[in-house]
Symmetry: C2
Subunit: 300 residues, 2 copies
């Protein structure tokens, strides 16, 4: 079944120990869509400015992403400038220019409102709620968030959390949100607030799934020697995961676990290049090989 | 087959967010032996002072540990005083009093020299070499180390690494030793220096095994909500792991992987209490339950 993502589409200026790029295609909806497109059909909702180059649109189209929900507004595209140090962990944000994203109001094309699998990328919780309210046939409603909203829009964010099935967040965000340092205790607290599943993103250490039915699944990241740029890894993870789940159109334990495996492999390609290029160009064979290798390196 | 450990036996003064203990039984050989004793027969070589309380000896004896190699010297037992913050990560060392450990020279009882499985705990590399040279029928010679030796005794440590089969270390130590930030690249560099296996200890994120025959195994930690004191977790991990391997008396891929699983479970008990008590008191049923749960929470 089809998958909907609502999130940012950005032009990034990124410096990492491995290089530097300017006006590079990025954003949560972009990474999510490209990853999901490896596995399933995905529909993207977002906004760009008049400066958004045709070449970017062409790339996304070539991935098979439906972009009827990508609006072009007067003004400039959302821009993020950041620097990673040698740890490739939390980047320093040099500037965030919201531009057309400041007035983004996700009104969905009519036919999108019936899509069953939905990922609310990291945008203002009020906008996440606005999308959630438009959906009519939800099978799985998932959302991502970030420290900015946890600190500044906590009440609205708790509304979102109450109304979704699955929350994606990282360990720092889990602490900020729950006040708990134990990932397991924090995730269980979040479950008591509404969602059925919490997906904890742990960067180079992988991910953890905690579910209401006592489900606990811990998966390492796919080890790589060549990190180029970690930007978009979390959204690629979400895209690979939800792409698989929507393709299987099932919400049982096995499907969701395998979803995390697909997400892990998608993220492993994402970080091996700037922007979406390495992920986009990963062949089916490469993708399958990593799925198998991840299985082999975790079995006992 | 039997297992030998050479390392420190200490009295620790530890403060964590969960409490405080004084003159608490600790040390690398202690934690290793108690963990190994859950699975296999272990012989301990170390030194304590005249102040070492009989109750500690009794505890270790009750675990079934052979302590014919534990010497009592004139003077005081090695003491470590440390404080953990709320992250339970790198503790602040308040003081290290070597005491009798300063002149420790591990001369093994004759019958120990034929033991096939050996763990050289985190002691001076010259002492590790001294033990290695006394061993006559080695099946697996493993060593642990720490930043202090990496920075101060690099040449001797490289000698150790050249002569062992398996090196245990954490991520920071791997970086210090190899200059590489990628765990996989760092481990592969270490393999080129001698050992057949590198076991990377990643704290709450688990462990990674990298072997010369393209072996790569990544295992999460056993998630726990109740960390009390992480002291000894790495040595308990080593003890559980080598206890299992020595019991099976095999060095194939499956045995070593399952060894890491046993080590992970041993470490999970260690951190749920001060000193060795929680680990020592874990029943066979509890141990088996966690082995099964770890399998269930990592399969897909």
């Amino acid at each position: 079944m089809s998958l909907l993502v609502v999130g940012s589409v950005a032009l990034d200026n990124i410096t990492t120990p491995k290089g530097q790029v300017s006006d590079s295609l990025g954003g949560s909806a972009t990474y999510f869509s490209v990853a999901a497109s490896k596995v399933s059909k995905v529909h993207m909702v977002g906004v760009v400015g008049e400066d958004f180059a045709e070449i970017h649109l062409e790339k996304l189209r070539n991935c098979g992403i439906d972009m009827n929900g990508l609006y072009v507004d007067k003004g400039k595209t959302f821009r993020w400038t950041g620097i990673y140090d040698e740890d490739f962990s939390d980047p320093e944000t040099i500037s965030t220019e919201l531009n057309v994203f400041a007035d983004f109001s996700p009104n969905l094309p009519d036919n999108y409102c019936n899509l069953p699998y939905i990922f609310l990328g990291n945008i203002h919780p009020a906008l996440q709620l606005q999308v959630a309210e438009q959906m009519k046939k939800t099978a799985l409603l998932a959302a991502d968030t970030m420290n900015f909203w946890i600190e500044g829009e906590r009440k609205k964010l708790l509304d979102v959390i109450k109304n979704i099935n699955m929350l994606f967040l990282n360990e720092l965000e889990l602490r900020l949100l729950t006040g708990l340092r134990s990932p397991l205790a924090g995730a269980e607290k979040l479950l008591s607030w509404g969602p059925e599943w919490v997906v904890l993103k742990r960067g180079v250490y992988g991910s953890m799934l905690v579910g209401k039915d006592d489900e606990l699944f811990v998966l390492p990241a796919y080890p790589t020697k060549d990190i180029i740029d970690p930007t978009g890894a979390g959204d690629s993870f979400g895209g690979g995961m939800m792409g698989y789940i929507s393709r299987e159109n099932q919400l049982n334990k096995e499907t969701i676990r395998t979803g995390l495996v697909y997400g892990t492999v998608a993220a492993s390609f994402c970080i091996e290049g700037f922007s979406i290029d390495r992920l986009m160009n990963a062949t089916d064979t490469e993708f399958q090989n990593r799925l198998e290798k991840l299985k082999e390196m975790t079995r006992f």
